[in-house]
């Protein structure tokens, strides 16, 4: 009797263990994500419909769409949107093309293969802050190396921070420098999965190595190219650390004339310098929407372009 009761209790416990414990194991993830990821994101929506200023001790008032209306009439918002798109295009397109080319180079039989791959990846492991600070020095107006090099070829020195185009170009170079090698390694991984006999057949048909690259390699990489484009877009539209630090001072305006203030930086300025949390939340939600639209359009476009190849 006692033994029976004990073993049936043990069986019940073990049933409970195998039925219940999986939920216990995945709980920490969902709990923490819910509290620190999902809740803030949704709550941003609520805050965006309020006039909410932290300096008033969190007092807030429902204002409906007023923040969004103000945003759409705010020239600083449109300025930051234009800057973001400009920097995004300037950094993403050359970056992915260069990555494709570097991956192609790395896909040869190479000596010191690992060292070369590590060398290419090195920029990606360094922090945005470190990278931006070093480049800001290199792009310095008076003693920067870039201007010195330009001087050697007879071009005048450029005040990189001062103009719209030059600051966008410099920031794009910083972004591209950090991410090209990472994307190259991702392309390399998929290049190595392409069956060799496709190239052998093409070679027998007399295709040149450039033709092989554009007719076989690129179309075969289609899913990877879509992946990297979407990821670069999601990251590119959220750029804020680079323009913040490129200004050299801790003001989040993105230059004296806001010439390189991005949307994320504009949100940061409104939220954590002006303490207008409602307005900043409206900007955040709009940015979220823009990112979603871009990711989808991007996905469809890249799929089509790659299909045509």
């Amino acid at each position: 009797m006692a033994i029976n009761a004990l073993s049936s209790r043990r069986a019940a416990l073990s049933r409970l263990d195998s039925k219940g414990s999986p939920y216990l194991y995945v709980l920490p993830f969902f709990l923490l994500f819910g509290v620190f990821g999902l809740f803030p994101l949704i709550y941003t929506g609520y805050v965006s419909f309020n006039d909410w200023n932290l300096l008033d001790g969190g007092a807030h008032q429902w204002v409906g769409l007023a923040n969004y209306r103000e945003m759409l009439q705010d020239p600083y918002f449109w300025n930051s949107l234009g800057n973001t798109l400009s920097i995004w295009v300037l950094s993403t397109v050359p970056q992915l093309l260069a990555a494709l080319w570097i991956a192609h180079l790395l896909n040869h039989k190479l000596r010191a293969r690992t060292s070369l791959r590590m060398g290419v990846l090195l920029p990606n492991i360094t922090s945005i802050v470190a990278v931006t600070i070093v480049f800001t020095q290199l792009f310095g107006r008076d003693f920067g190396m870039v201007n010195w090099l330009l001087g050697l070829v007879g071009a005048g020195p450029i005040d990189w921070q001062a103009d719209t185009w030059s600051s966008h170009l410099a920031i794009s170079i910083i972004v591209a420098w950090r991410w090209t090698g990472y994307n190259a390694l991702i392309y390399l991984a998929s290049m190595q999965a392409i069956p060799h006999d496709m190239y052998e057949a093409a070679e027998l048909d007399g295709a040149s190595s450039a033709q092989q690259f554009w007719r076989i390699t690129v179309p075969q990489l289609r899913p990877t190219i879509i992946f990297t484009t979407v990821i670069s877009t999601i990251g590119g539209l959220q750029i804020m650390a680079e323009p913040l630090l490129f200004a050299g001072t801790s003001t989040p305006t993105g230059g004296s004339d806001r010439q390189f203030q991005t949307i994320a930086l504009f949100m940061y300025e409104q939220g954590f310098r002006e303490f207008r949390f409602g307005y900043a939340s409206a900007i955040a939600w709009t940015l979220c929407l823009i990112i979603a639209v871009f990711a989808i359009v991007n996905f469809l476009l890249t799929r089509r372009i790659a299909n045509e190849e």
């Binding site: 194991y25 920490p28 990821g37 990846l121 492991i125 190396m145 052998e200 070679e203 939220g271 955040a284």
Partner: protein, 298 residues
């Protein structure tokens, strides 16, 4: 094959080494030409140069940096400059903070991701698929955008300027869960778990005695990436830790100011990058492999 084309081997008994039939650069991958090497070396040089430059500047005096043409060779002032960095800001504390934050996030992510990955890959329960898809979908959510309510939450519970504000939200990642689910699905045979159960192991016992040891290689890669990401994180610590900075925040305040002392700043850059650089030197092969295997999210 004629005797003329293939001279007999010189030593009796050992056949001449069979050379593969020579084809011009046929097949794939093809042999690298001098130009391939030259181009790759140029790319790598471009990758290394900014870091090398920060080393050059941090070993020079402030005057040397303002020279035209620029000095390209390290000087002898590295330790003076390092001392200056530690004098001018509380850099030591920032470094310590970063180690605490990155270390605890890394341990926790590896532990919880392996636990959740074990459940998703090896245990059967209702709603498993839905929950897994949900977990993966969360990695697509841009975290930056919830930063305002997150900050409000942190000030509500009094965590601003406390390291917990940075550590706790980072304790688990969707990427880690996904990565471990993928890995454990392949790496742990079901028979092994069955055998463990026969021996009377509880599910947590299985996790501890069977799954964790089997997960070691993947845990190492995940831990590396988590550490690097936590170490390099900037935006959230900047917002929430104004007076108790991590090293990236300290670095950014070193760099901001109306006149920037570049020698000081780039020395700080070097110090902030050094731990990651050391890890990269030692474990670069695994890091490269991890990226090529699973398209690690940056």
């Amino acid at each position: 094959m004629t005797a003329l084309a293939n001279p007999p081997s010189t030593r009796a008994g050992t056949p001449a080494p069979q050379r593969p039939p020579r084809r011009r650069s046929f097949g794939y991958p093809r042999r690298a030409s001098v130009w391939t090497y030259a181009a790759l070396i140029a790319v790598v040089a471009g990758s290394i140069f900014p870091l090398y430059w920060s080393f050059v500047v941090s070993s020079q005096t402030s005057e040397a940096v303002a020279q035209v043409p620029p000095v390209l060779i390290p000087g002898g002032h590295l330790f003076d400059n390092i001392a200056r960095v530690f004098d001018s800001t509380d850099f030591a504390k920032a470094l310590l903070n970063s180690f605490i934050v990155s270390g605890s996030i890394t341990l926790s992510v590896v532990f919880f991701s392996t636990l959740a990955g074990f459940a998703f890959a090896k245990l059967r329960f209702r709603g498993r698929k839905v929950l897994l898809v949900l977990a993966i979908a969360t990695s697509m959510v841009p975290q930056q955008l919830g930063i305002i309510p997150l900050y409000m939450l942190m000030s509500e519970i009094g965590w601003t300027d406390r390291l917990a504000a940075v550590i706790v939200p980072g304790l688990v990642t969707a990427f880690g869960v996904f990565f471990m689910t993928q890995y454990l699905g392949r790496a742990v045979p079901d028979e092994l778990l069955e055998a463990g159960r026969m021996d009377g192991c509880s599910t947590f016992g299985l996790y501890w005695h069977v799954v964790l040891p089997a997960a070691r290689p993947a845990a190492a890669v995940l831990g590396l990436f988590t550490f690097m990401q936590a170490w390099n994180d900037f935006f959230w610590p900047l917002v929430v830790l104004q007076n108790n900075a991590t090293v990236q925040v300290a670095l950014s305040s070193l760099a901001s100011g109306y006149t920037t002392d570049y020698t000081l700043t780039l020395t700080g850059t070097l110090l902030a990058t050094l731990p990651i650089l050391v890890i990269f030197m030692v474990l670069g092969r695994q890091i490269v492999g991890g990226i090529m295997q699973g398209a690690i999210k940056g």
